[in-house]
Symmetry: C2
Subunit: 147 residues, 2 copies
Amino acid sequence: MISNSAQFELMSEFRAKCKKHNLKMTPQRVTIYQELVKAKDHPGCEDIFERVHKKFPDISLDTVYRTLSTFADIGVINQVEGYGEAKRYDPNTGRHHHLRCLKCNSIVDFQDTTFNNLRIPKSVEKSFVVNNIKVILEGLCKECAKK
Amino acid sequence: MISNSAQFELMSEFRAKCKKHNLKMTPQRVTIYQELVKAKDHPGCEDIFERVHKKFPDISLDTVYRTLSTFADIGVINQVEGYGEAKRYDPNTGRHHHLRCLKCNSIVDFQDTTFNNLRIPKSVEKSFVVNNIKVILEGLCKECAKK
DNA sequence: TTTTCTGCAAATCCTTTGCATATCC
DNA sequence: GGATATGCAAAGGATTTGCAGAAAA
């Protein structure tokens, strides 16, 4: 549960970040953000739309799409797996890790012994059967970093 | 570059796995698999289709979709980020990690100090600007593991 | 008043499905 | 010969886009 003061703080941060990026405060944006903060299930656009729609029957689905995308752009929220992109496949079924460029979407394999030997935390073992550990480094590849 | 003998070995493994899962060997499947093994770019369905199409002009796009999906099911290849699923968002922008259930698609946050303190490998630093490290444990959640 | 956002509708992209025919074992 | 795979066409789901009117700064 989030305390009232924490919620208030989140809300001011949100307003500050919007201001910084010249985003106007609209009731749609506020409602969507509030609904997001409550969510513990890493919801998709449709999920958020359904929840927001109860309080705000006139909101349209594409506003939710646009808003979530904008929020992610300015770092108010994050996108998680999946990325809404097309499926991609890897013929290398051995242990390895990925660099993922956020700009050009390239994925490059790399090896690292520390990452290979990560142990599953005890606390996780009790509630989850882990098949595999993925380590993904997200950022910019050499070419994209130049620009 | 993959040596001829390594390529031959991959091919026998491939045939063995197909046999085990009662998959027939068709020229489409062989061609798709060969094209995949050569790929270093974690291609999508459309990519594979274009490459295969040059050698095999009669192949259809949906065969490629079906085949790649089948290959992933039997573990001949792996799906990587993205998963072809809808976008999902996380209001928690702080450091944390994810458990991802492969069956029900739930994503649950967890904390772990070891994972929090992973260092970016030196070899990576030279060729990549890392924004964030993601650790994702994939497997089955408690409910799905029961079945 | 100017810039930005929203809702609507249409378009686009990715993926799956049903079915008849062709192919593999 | 029997089971399975393929190609075609159509459907389905997710996401984006253009545009005119509405709302925020």
